[in-house]
Amino acid sequence: MSDEKKIIDDAIDQEYKYGFVTDIEQETFPPGLDEEVIRKISAKKLEPGWLLDWRLKAYRHWKTMVEPTWSSVKYPTVDFQSISYFSAPKKKPELKSLDEVDPELLETYRKLGIPLEEQKIFAGVAVDAVFDSVSVTTTFKKELSNHGIIFCPLSEAVQNHPDLVKEYLGSVVPAADNFYAALNSAVFSEGSFVYIPKGVRCPMELSTYFRINALNTGQFERTLIIADEGSHVSYLEGCTAPMRDENQLHAAVVELVAHKDANIKYSTVQNWYPGDKEGKGGIYNFVTKRGICLDDNSKISWTQVETGSAITWKYPSVILKGDNSIGEFYSVALTNNYQQADTGTKMIHMGKNTKSTIISKGISAGKSQNAYRGEVKIMKGADNARNYSQCDSILIGDQCGAHTFPYIDVRNHTAKMEHEATTSKIGEEQIFYCNQRGISEEDAVSMIVNGFCKDVFQELPMEFAMEAQKLMEVSLEGSIG
């Protein structure tokens, strides 16, 4: 992020260089959206004309669209003219030590098992030189560039690698794809760009890097990952630490492109502010994520752990175009209090011998509603396509809901489809059994829930699997009894 910040800083604010924020307001556009705003965003980013045109086209299309209402989530109408569509990355007020941080927040970090140095970064405390994010960034950047890997803010890629961006931006999620994707295409301002060259295995989990550097993710993020022939990459966004943001509406777009024999693994841990116990506040997370297995033998795997946000609305999908390509979706969605989640996937089989796997685990507690919505589509030419879907839900308490909406569309008779779905209540019998062995009710529930999520957690990068387990415990606090 620091490079992106530099470009913006240079362009708009001299004083920022000294690390002092004198007037934050002047870096934020007044609320409202029209073509002028989009031109200003594009100008701030020093974008080429084609990109401005692309944004404007998206905007004009967006104006003709209506907000989708087919999902099961309920929320008050969003006033799109009351939102500010550009805000330069702000410097958080820096604290001198962890002593100054809200003890409750620290307690959460501790429960999640987040290392001390990283706690400081999350909480906005000055970090010492050894762990300074800039120096870490530099080290990582050097190693990545030795392999020819491009990993930078999207706005930087627009400047330095315009051909790549032009070729792939909107190639998986077209600007007019859906209401929120169109909005994002018009106004996106932050996000990441990754390009892995032919035959390169990315030498590190891009998670490590991301975790430290991309915390100030924006309202309208846009991520583009391209894995060229035979390359491998594992990318992780988000983190288990609770994230607050003053913007209520988040509409991100993520596009993945896997060429022949390439392999992309994309993991998400989403823990945005879910709102309080009465359901006030919280982020609306309306995300479009899609990947395309462009050529033969490619593979895209989505893993997500969704515990935050007041409303989650996302369907990470895979278009299986190449023959023998593989799409996977592993999901844990946990809702508590008044949270709502409507999430799932789409697997579109086009190539021959394509395979997809869907494992979805929904956990509902409190007064929350949790829906799995997924589509498996087997196109005419997709001979011998195979899909396995398993959607399990558990309910904690009797005031929450779990729903499953599987859509299956098969146009080729050689397809093999398997679908399994279960819904169960965390049994009193199970909890009593644990109690009778001396295990407390809270430990019992977290043990049962983690057991339930095991198939998904084991797909997460190692370091996050442990944290994800603890995240379940923290997210379920107060839901029992």
């Binding site: 009593f432 109690n435 062995r437 043990m447 983690n450 057991g451 095991k454």
Partner: protein, 250 residues
Amino acid sequence: MMLKIKNLHASVGDKPILKGINLEVKAGEMHAIMGRNGSGKSTLTNIITGKEGYTITDGSIEYKGKSILDDSPEDRALNGIFQSFQYPVVIHGVNNTYFLRTAYNAKRKYLGQPELDAASFMKLIREKMKLVEMDRSYLKRSVNDGFSGGEKKRNEILQMVTLEPSLSILDETDSGLDIDALKIVANGVNNFRREDRSFIVITHYQRLLKYIEPDVVHVLMDGQIVKTGGKELALALEEKGYGWLDGDQL
């Protein structure tokens, strides 16, 4: 005195199930409670271990000299009361080793002892597994997931010998066992007997009592203990059936 139950009355909803149970179990004793289905055997077990859903309308239960009626199920367990379940539940995705170590360490913590690390626990559990002839694959499987009836019951006994309770209540431990499994389970229990450990074996049939020899046998009928005797009482019941005692009641 390990367990002292006095004039215990309990109901489910409005329906009285236990109607004045009196029972004393001394340290080191093996008691058998026999009775037909619906006589209140399982209710008695559940009330001792603290399961919800029962109302105690009268009477008292003392364990090691103190009333336990206000204690939570986990406190009773941590204090050394163990129930071998008639129908052990399945917990998907939680492996036996993890489950049992969590329980074991909960107890250590309760007793103010340091928790046992994974490696030391593995050593311990491997020893205990021999006692009930449990297969090595057990360690990696989820709690009771895909277990045969015999494996489930052996697992209960394995948990018992690992957690080392003072009072063990074995609820219909013989049901669903073939003769080989029955012998293994009985062996596990017999080897665990000690002068400071007591047992209550709840059973419908006399079968298990051939292998686990009780000191005292009680017959439970319609929520009351109608007869108490030595091990010969179990044999008499086997021979004459419960109908024999229906007459007594009249």
